[in-house]
Structures are given as structure tokens and as C-alpha cells.
């Protein structure tokens, strides 16, 4: 196995282009587990930790541009105001040691349906920046996940950044695990309200072959929500929203939980996320944050 250590983005893209079978590695919290358990034997590892662009974040127009290699710890520290759902999701990732190393780029590269970052990216309509020696393109998170662990990423491309629209309303994230920390999601849910666009975004984790969203729930809530005053919604509306979110899930029974429980938990989390959002909306707290 070759171990490549590019120190600039150009070198990294060239290395990626020259080694289509190679595996990019940043924090190593996923890749190293797969190597150690012999689940993967790539011809080359492309270590991206020395590429400066990947570990930076900043504000770029109406977006926050998050380098794909920024560890979760920094997202929690710096982006709780600009990207609250992603920051909440980051807080629920594994242990402090893993949060110091793990990155959203790695989550996207591995594309496990259980990855914590996916639901907030879907709900918040983030874009993913993909680069290669051929150039750079942006793909909406909503178009990124194609099938089980398969994404729009091409074999000569690197995930370089995530573009997060600035929060324009309440954002929620919640994740079910059977212990109170350090747990892979049994299922997870993210809800983003955009007061400017008067739109709703949802994201569902660990309840299908890919991260999912419920367009039906989004459209339903966008129509029902009181965008002027954020008045409390009728119980029937809240319930319907939960049901629509659950209906979008395509879960299986596995060692972490049953399909039926996942659907049930999603409906509960969706209802709660909605009621928290109504409260937050009325406070307007997230908009001033």
C-alpha cells in the first residue's frame, strides 16, 4: 500500500487522479477501522491532513464555507450560531477523541446512512464542493446520496468543502442511541426552517439505504406553518408532520433496532423537533444568534 502525503490541494488532486483506487484519509476515524478489520485493502492512502484549504472555514457570501477536513470539535466551537443543526449533530458524534479527528468530509466520503452530518446537510440544503484536476463543481446534498454507500463523488474527485446556507430560522437535530453517549445512530432526524424562503427542510439518518428527506413533510409544514407569528400548530398538524416523516423512512431490522421502532422514533423526534422550532421561532432566538 502506498502512503501519499500531498501538501497542497493541487498535489492532492493530482494524487487522487493518479490513484483512482486510492482512499483519501483525513481523521482516519472510519478508514482506519476498515483497514484494521481487513474490510478494505486500497492500493494507496492519500493523507489530506497537510492540505491547508481543507481545514479552514469562513464566510463566503451568504454561505459558510466549511473545509471538508475541519474536525467536529471546531464545528461545535465555531458554528453553533451559523449552522446550529450541524453543530448539534457534531456534538453527538462518538467521543471527544473522535470529535477531535473526525470530519464532515469523512462522513460524506464514507456515506454511511448512520453518519451524523447527513441529516443536517439535507435539511439545511447544503452544497458539497467536489474538486478534481478537471475543475470544481458543486452538488446539493439533496442530490449527493445515490444508493447504499454510493454518492455523486467521482473517482478522481476529492470532497473539498461544504457550503452551508446561513441559518434563517430554527434548526434541530436529534439522534436515537441505546446509550447516552458514544453510540451509532439507531435513527436520527434534522429539521430546518427557513423564514426568508418560507421553506422547510428535513433530513433522516439510519432509516434507509441512504440518508433521506421527507419532501411530503416539508411541503406540508411549509403550508401549515405560521411564518408571520409562529403561532402554535394544531395537534393534528404536528401529528401529521410526524407521520409524514416516518412514512418517508425505509428502515430495516438490524442489530441496532427494528424498522418499526425506527419509524416510531422518527415520528416522535419529528413532532418534538417541530414543537421546539415553534418555540424557537417565536423567540426569534436563532435569528439573532
Amino acid at each position: 500500500m502506498e502512503f501519499l502525503r500531498p501538501s497542497t490541494l493541487v498535489e492532492a488532486l493530482e494524487a487522487r487522479s493518479a490513484h483512482p483506487d486510492g482512499v483519501p484519509i483525513m481523521g482516519g476515524t472510519d478508514v482506519m477501522v476498515e483497514l484494521n478489520f481487513d474490510k478494505r485493502r486500497p492500493s494507496a492512502l492519500i493523507d489530506l491532513t497537510r492540505v491547508p484549504e481543507l481545514t479552514e472555514w469562513g464566510v463566503d457570501g451568504g454561505h459558510t464555507r466549511l473545509g471538508a477536513g475541519v474536525p467536529y470539535t471546531q464545528i461545535i466551537e465555531h458554528l453553533s450560531g451559523r449552522a446550529p443543526a450541524l453543530a448539534k449533530a457534531s456534538r453527538s458524534v462518538a467521543s471527544p477523541q473522535i470529535r477531535n479527528r473526525g470530519t464532515v468530509g469523512g462522513n460524506l466520503g464514507g456515506a454511511s446512512p448512520a453518519g451524523e452530518a447527513h441529516p443536517p446537510l439535507l435539511a439545511g440544503d447544503a452544497e458539497i464542493e467536489l474538486a478534481s484536476v478537471r475543475g470544481t463543481r458543486r452538488v446539493r446534498a439533496r442530490d449527493f446520496y445515490l444508493s447504499f454507500r454510493t454518492t455523486a463523488l467521482r473517482e478522481d474527485e476529492l470532497i473539498t468543502a461544504i457550503l452551508l446556507p446561513e441559518a434563517a430560522g430554527p434548526q434541530q437535530f436529534a439522534k436515537i442511541g441505546t446509550r447516552n453517549a458514544m453510540v451509532i445512530a439507531v435513527t436520527s432526524f434534522s429539521l430546518v426552517l427557513d423564514a426568508d424562503q418560507r421553506s422547510v427542510g428535513t433530513g433522516i439518518g439510519s432509516a434507509g439505504p441512504t440518508p433521506l428527506r421527507s419532501e411530503a413533510a416539508e411541503e406540508f409544514l411549509a403550508g401549515e406553518f405560521d411564518w408571520e407569528d409562529g403561532r402554535p400548530l394544531a395537534e393534528s398538524v404536528v401529528r401529521r408532520f410526524g407521520d409524514l416523516v416516518a412514512a418517508a423512512a425505509r428502515p430495516i431490522d438490524d442489530q441496532r433496532g427494528t424498522a418499526e421502532y425506527r419509524k416510531h422514533a422518527l415520528s416522535v423526534m419529528a413532532r418534538r423537533a417541530l414543537s421546539w422550532s415553534v418555540t424557537d421561532y417565536r423567540k426569534g432566538s436563532t435569528r439573532c444568534a
Partner: protein, 811 residues
Amino acid sequence: MTATTKTVTTDLSSTTKDGLGASPRRPDGTLKVTGEFAYSSDLWMEGVLWGATLRSPHPHARILGIDITEALKVPGVEAVLTHEDVPGTKRYGLEFQDQPVLAYDKVRYKGEAVAVVAADHPETARRAMERIKVDYEVLAPVSDSVRAAHDPEYPLVHEEGSLEIHEEYHQRGNRVRHQPIRTGDFVGVAESGEGQQEVLERLRAQADAVVAAEYEVGMQDQAFLGPESGMAVPAEDGGVDLYVATQWLHVDQKQIAPALGLPEDKVRLTLAGVGGAFGAREDLSMQIHACMLALRTGKPVKFVYNREESFYGHVHRHPAKMRYEHGARADGTLLYATMEIIVDGGAYASATPAVVGVASSLGIGPYEVPHVLVDAYGVYTNNPPCGAMRGFGAVQACFGYESQMDRLAEELGMHPVALRVKNAMSQGSRIITGQEIDMPLPMAEMLERARDLPMPVERTELEDPSDQRTLPGGVAGTTRGEGVVRGVGYGVGLKNLCFSEGFDDYSTARVRLEVVAGEPVVLVHTAAAEVGQGLVTVKGQIARTELGVEKVAIAPSDTQVGSAGSSSASRQSYMTGGAVKMACEAVRESVYALARERGVVPASVSDSDLSLAGGKIVSESEGVLVSLADLLGESAAGGTVVEETREHHHRPTEMLDPTLGQGASHTQFGMCVHRAVVDVDVELGLVKVVALDAVQDVGKVLHPQQLAGQIQGASAQGLGLALMEEIQVKDSEIRNPSFTDYLIPTILDMPPMRIDVLEHPDPHAPYGLRGAGEPPTLSSTPAVVAAVRDATKRPLRHAPVRPEDIVGIDL
């Protein structure tokens, strides 16, 4: 974890610094905290080869052929061995010799060892394993433990005639052991059939309340952190030296030597650094394999299992299926109890017979019941092998009988503590085997103390009730208080301590006193396994207290001294501690004799007037008589070395009789009471344990800090079994062989504990002590589940409780 531990008073604190009753630092503590401690996986020697194990991918299959030709061709491979290469006996085992060193004819569980490889690098060994061709004829697995116990038509895991038969265990079909217990009107009632029904009907008619239910305990893993590992080094005399993480060096030696075709003295074991045990190291793992490869290649061979392999490399806690019925009078007085328990031992017997002995004899718990019928079964299946784990059969039964006590209390409208107190055993009570509890057992007092401990503050009174870490679901943010309901539950368990049923698990200690650099020093040598419990500290404390000498060194544990028995059954402080005490007493007597011989002790002073303190012989009446330095003289300059070796045996115990299950089978009894307080998100099925407080009688406290550690650790392990720890087995295959999916509690799952320690000495035990490591493992599980039941009003008959159970989704 912060602990509030009641200050314990003990009359053991001696004048010698760091003696009994004090909390001296562990000699291995700093190294472990700084990461410098050498565990068995860190062993290394120049030229060491790496061993690897090829395991069966099937739970049940016939082996039609094994071809190692291609594996041997891999450069760097030095040996590939199969069952044909086992030099001696082909099977071994703790109780029955039924487990092949390497599988032949058949594999009986997924992960069973089929071949072993030694190579210059782990990667080489892995590649060689891929090239071993095993031709399997896959068979349907025997996976249903209930059918294995009761269905004579069910296929056999072990062919007729292939096992040694133990008549006293009623061994037949897939049954490893059936132990009945009958008392009162059930005496003479058969295993099933009309007679039983008649008696039951009569007793039911007399009862004001009857509760009957089925319960299950899942397969728990010991989840030790240091995987199976060790290194075998071939010796010039044709023998082998094995450095290994284990629980009992001598029982390993006894199993390894015959398999290698060597006399025991040619198989020498030294304990390597042990990263936790909890029962999982009672059985052999890589020991014989490493020795075979070392003897074949003439080179040292090291094995280290990886985490996934470790799940296949050791036995687990027996999963149990239980059926209970209890009848009581209106005032709560228990009238009768019946219990059937089936524990699934998997493919090989391991400790199953002994687990059945415990599960049956303690099956009804510490309650006075006049009429009892118990049938306990241990069975063979093709499921993962199960054996020893902290609590050993008593854990499973405790979940059953404590769940029943809660149901009965509810039925009668009594407080759960009141019902338990009403039927509580005490000193002089007889357990269902007829054995008298001839030591203090203040059960009623303990229950009341647990009930009266201060309650944790309500959620609303928390400094920050919105702190996610205080809520079920933790930092994943699933609730801000919605759906959260508080519940309280109690659990009490009775555990046998030391080995039972006629087993003479003696322990040996050698203690040496000499003068080095002008100071008396003591060396304590035993074969006892330090597995993390802190015996290494306690041995030093005993020597300091008994010999009045501060400088005590602990020799590495090895087979150069007699057996110390197993680091199991909460027995090492009692057994090896007792042996160290005896050897110290012998050393002391020799010192007094020497002093008399040298004329230092006036004839008027008797031995009972003498003591050793501060490195001197002191007489109560005459004061200091002589310093040990002066009496013995510098050892390097030909001074006197006093060395004594003693064996410590506990009082004899009896086998349970095979018909009525009567007999004084246990050495000692221990008890712990837990009160759990939980917050449950009843809509999502998630739990936060708010408090898990314990009252335990330990006879005598030897090391307060280590004792707290034992109680906290055992409580956490029980909390794990209550809420998350289960090896999920489907079609005889493990679905979650990793710490990603086999969950053990984190610091956010385990609350700070309030621990109330009582000291009622056991007159039969050294210092009056009681083994302390296991009892809290029993009671914490039912206490936590009872608290979740209190919050959810769900029956919750399976441990661990799953979110599905709480929200009412059928599994």
C-alpha cells in the same frame, strides 16, 4: 464517576503504614494510568512468531477435509497445524473434557478454532489462513435451548457416546446438567406431570395472590478491554514457558500439559498483564495453540486476538429462559415458589454444570418459602459457548425472582421493600437446599437502609434541567423533558462466594522475611491472578499488618509456587488473602522461636504477649525486645531468611443431591441491595439512570477505596445488563461482535453512587471478610429494570430492556 462512600470504621487498621483498613496505592496503578503497564498483548521477544487462528464460519458443520498445502507455501509461514498435530489428548475443558483443541469431524459453533498458523508477521499469517481449504458439509444449527432441554427428538450437538457421562447431573440428550430442588409439599414430585399439578393446585388454593411469568436474560459479554493474548517460549528441556493473561494458572497448566503430551512440570506458566477477566479467562483460548506452535517451530510464538475475534474467543454469560410462579398470603407471607430455568451453554460444557448448581440453589433468592420446586437445566446448543461471568448463574435467577417480588408486591398492594422484608432471610435461615446461613445476614436492615437513603433531587430542582447530559438520550438531544417519567426500583441478591459443591479450591502462599540493606523486607509469592481487582494490593496489606514490616514486595505470579485457585467467585481476598495470612503467621511463629532460641525473649513472656510492629518484636509487658534487623542479620551476609509456605482451604462443601437438591453446597454467602432511580423517556424508550445506590455487607473492609471500586464496577456491569448489554444471536450467529454494537455503559450512563457498607464479620472467614466483587452484579440489574417498570408500567420481562420493550413494539 464521583462516589460518595460512607466512611467505614474498621478495627483492622494496624499500626503499620498501608496495612489492612488503609487504602494504599496499587503497585500497578501508576503504570496503568500512564499507559506504561505491560499487558499480555505487549509481550515481545527477539525472533517471535505471530500466531493466528482459522475459525469456523459455520455454527454447525461436518469437516470433510482440511488442506493446508497452499498455506504452507506462503513465504514466512513456519507452521500450519490442525487437529492431527495435537501431540496429546485432543479435547480439554474446565469440567468435562469435551472441547477439541482444534476441531475434528465437526465444528459446533461459529468461530470454533480449526487450524493455527505461525508466521513472521501477522499479515503473513493472515494470508496463509486464507489459503487453508476446509471442506464443510453445513448442518442445521441446534439453536433452541428450550427444545435442547426438553425435546428428545431434537438433534444432538455431541454424538451419542462421545461424552463422558456424569450420572449425578442427569446428563442426557443435549442436557449438560439437570438439577432439581424440592422442599415442603413438593418433595417427591417428579420433573413434570400430574403429581406436580396436584400439589400446585392445592397450594394455589391456599394462596391469596399468585403471580406467574416468564423471564429472559440475554447473553452478556464480559467485555474486558485486553483481548486474549500471550506468548509461548520453547525451553531447552523440551518443555515450554507460557506467559499469558488468565484467571488461574494451575488449571490452565492442568489442561495444557495433557494436550501437549507433556508432564505438568514441563509446562510452566507466568501471569502476564491482565486487562480484565470477569470469568472470560477461566477457559483456555490461545494457550494450547501457542504452545503447540512454539514446540513445533522451536521459536517463541505470540497470539493477540483482535476485538471481533475476541467475541468468538471466549465464553459469555449464559442466556437464560425462566418460568416462575409465586403464591403468597394476603399479608405478603410467601407460601410456595416454582422455577424452571434453562441456561444455554452453547457448544461445549465449560462451567455450565457449576452455573446450574448456583442457579438452582439460589434460584428463589434470599426468601423464606416453605414449598419450593426448582428445575434448572444447562444445555448444549450450537450457539456461542457460555461459561463463567461475574455472578455465575445467580445473576440470571436474581432478575427472575426479584421481578416476581415486584409483581407480587403490586398484586398485594405492598411496598416492594415491605414484601421483601416480610420474607427476608437472616442468620440461621436455611436456603432451599437446606443449607443454614451460619453467618450474619442483616437483609431486612439492608433493605430498609436502601429505602431510607436520601433520594436524588427532582429534575425540576436541578441546577440546569435543560443540560442534555442529565436527560435520557444524553447529548444526542432527543428530549428537553418531553415524555420523561421518573421511576424507583429495588433489587437484592444472594450470592455464593468461593467455589461450591465439594470443590476444594485451596490457595497457597509463600512468605519470606529477610533483612536487606539493614531493613526487614517481606516477599509474598502466590500464583493468584491479578486481573484488575487489586489482590496485589491486599496481599501487601496483609503482610504489613501481620508482620509489622512496611517494605513488602509481591513476586510475579507463576506456577513455581502451589495453586492459588481462580480469580473467580469473589474468592481471592478470602482464599489467597487467607493463605498469605497463614503463611505470615507461620513466619511470625518462626521468628518468635528464633528469638527464644537466641535468648532475646524472657521466659516469662508468652507468645500471646508478643507482636511484630515497626520491624521489631514487641512484648506487651516488656516493650521492644529486639529489632528484626538485629535478630535475623543481613541476608546477603549469611543472615537468617525465614520462609514459610501455607495452603489455605475453606471448609468442605457438599454436592447437591441429584433428587431433592439438598446439601450444604456453598462456602459463604454475600448480599447487596440496590435502589435505582431512573428517568425514562417513555415515548422513545430511552433511559437515564439518575441514581444507583447500594448497601452491602462485606464482613470486614480491607481496602476501602478498592472496595468502592468493586461495588461501582459490579453495579455498572449490572446496569449494562439491565439496559444495553446483549450479544444478539440469530440462527446461532453473533450479530454484534464489536464494541460499536455491543454497548457497555459510559460515564454518562452510570450515575455517581452512594455506597453504604456494613461490616458484620463472618466467623468462618479470615478477618471476617466476605467476597465483595459479585453481589452488586446481581442486584443492580433487577433494581434498574424495576425502576424502569415503575416509570413505564410495562411488564419488561427481558434483560436488557430494549427501547422497543418500553414503547411497546413486539420483538
